[in-house]
Symmetry: C2
Subunit: 387 residues, 2 copies
Amino acid sequence: MDNAVVQKDLAFPIVEFQRRLKAVRQEMAKRRLDLLVVSTPENIYYLSGYHTVGYYSSQFLLIPRNGDPIHITRGIEETNVKVLSWIDRSTSYMDHESPVELLATTIQSMGCANSTIGVEKISWFLSILDYERLKQLLHGAIFEDGSHTVESARVVKSNLELECIRQAARIADAGMEAGIGQIRAGANENDVAAEIQRVVTRMGSEYPGLPIFVASGVRTSHAHATWSGRQILKGDPVLLEISGCVRRYSAALMRLAVVKPASRELERMEEVSRKALENMIEAIRPGRPLEEVWNVWSRTVTEGGYEGRFKRTGYSIGINFPPDWGEGYMLSFKRGETRTLRPNMTFHIPSLVKVFGFADAGTSETVLVTETGCEILTNCKRQLFVC
Amino acid sequence: MDNAVVQKDLAFPIVEFQRRLKAVRQEMAKRRLDLLVVSTPENIYYLSGYHTVGYYSSQFLLIPRNGDPIHITRGIEETNVKVLSWIDRSTSYMDHESPVELLATTIQSMGCANSTIGVEKISWFLSILDYERLKQLLHGAIFEDGSHTVESARVVKSNLELECIRQAARIADAGMEAGIGQIRAGANENDVAAEIQRVVTRMGSEYPGLPIFVASGVRTSHAHATWSGRQILKGDPVLLEISGCVRRYSAALMRLAVVKPASRELERMEEVSRKALENMIEAIRPGRPLEEVWNVWSRTVTEGGYEGRFKRTGYSIGINFPPDWGEGYMLSFKRGETRTLRPNMTFHIPSLVKVFGFADAGTSETVLVTETGCEILTNCKRQLFVC
């Protein structure tokens, strides 16, 4: 492998990655971390450009406060370090070897065996078992929760990142148009989903963090339902939620369609979901606590006669790998969220009005917090689509 | 929500779920676990039928040694318990509440606060942070690693499960045919991926655990590369790996195509990958250690002049949710794997010959271990496809 001539394919210029690394190291200094073990695929990509679908095998990016970062990957994934990462130092384990033992020996070789080490305790991809073993192997180290060290930088987007999200929004727009174009009595949920996937993939949309959502009839009221082979009938609601993904950055979009005739109840639900979204968007501006904006949504839905007290509505969106396309664990519009909006944050805001056993109505946009308010990045007529 | 009339949509008859639960409880007894906290989405589905794409929010299935199991989900996901699970007891948290606190109080209410509790320490979806908090909240309990308690049953498939995998194999076959049909000089990787997704989704294939893989040219040698907008050129290898997914059960299939003229080197690599797979398949029979079968692959590839010493080749396949379509963490063909094959185990076996910077050649089948040997479930001509 070492002799191959490698054509690098970096997602961003090196200065962009260096800026990100610097911001993360400042946060590490604040937290007095000597070393950060990054195990979240989004964070590894954010800092290095390296990514793979194969993150079901352990992988880490080690960020010392000073000195060069090091990748640890499964053997076959070193190809992706060479091609995709601006960071050249890497080591890898074979499939019969222990990733966490390699992690421990690498930390030792960096001189950090007795240091303060941050691990991402909220990360899905460092297991409890591996963490317990790591603590045994490095019994001289002090382990701290390093969660959100990288996210503290990720939550505000650079112009290069926004460019990806804008492109992703164009794809979500086109996917929505394609999906709505397929809806009619007698069509099958599968056919709608197939056409959306065909269109967005041809436009270069990458594999999404979540599948597209296509649900019809009562299935719209089953959370996160997607295509199931159900035939769409006269009068059925059809709820579509679609993301575009460009260089792993997503934008998403939700609309409700109905096969005519639309019932009065569905029309009313869609209207409430839409108004609640529009009221939220008007309320968005830098400095405002997210809870305050969520309250606007909650009030609108409650006054409209629906349940609006419990569910978050809207989450940060950016880099994504399955099983989520959002960054809701970083920041969401919900009760009790007192942190404030900042310019260049991006959100997907699905406003859902839910009646289990009947239907869910939903409307969303992907938005950018600007210096003065809010820019809507997705671009699709905001209405109930009667097909 | 409570007043809605619910039409249940169970993936399997209740007796199938009861059989699974009984097997898991026998394993719990062996391990002396009073309670098992199941957090792996595949395991929750296996035992209950409940599933959602929304497992990025915490969810648990609590299995006491005696008494009724209980679901814990995010509020909006209770809809899916009602529709998809044969288990009726459930409780849920709102988006501003703490899932792990609900987990602790639920365990207390079951009378298990001072019991021996198994948690799946290898599961991605119980974080270190939540586990540490759970131990604080239930300081009277004894926590054991409950990993593989459910998997010990899952690894051998029932006839109902095999029926799903057979259907998934038909879809993978059709997807492969559709993909190969798109390959020609001037075609774009995206178009190939779009057509495969269109075809398999129309056939009812559900969202896959991994995206389909479409890579051309030198990108075939970048592990897990998939569509990137690259234009396919004369002489290019194109590596396709596709899964079908039926009721969350997968089968997968890999083939190499080449836009003519095929180089002698590519032909040779494909031949070695194919022969190594065929030799493995001939070696598969119940009672044989997986390592022994892997040795056959390793020897064939090494004798063919390629690197065959380090990579696993083949993994258990069955229920899948992103980010993996395999069950490789349960059982893989690799060095040191002394466990033995048993009838009704299913595997996907991608035999890869890798030359970084040039190309990877690969051939695979999804297979079933029978009473006497091996049945091949996928059905696609086994050859280098010259397009």
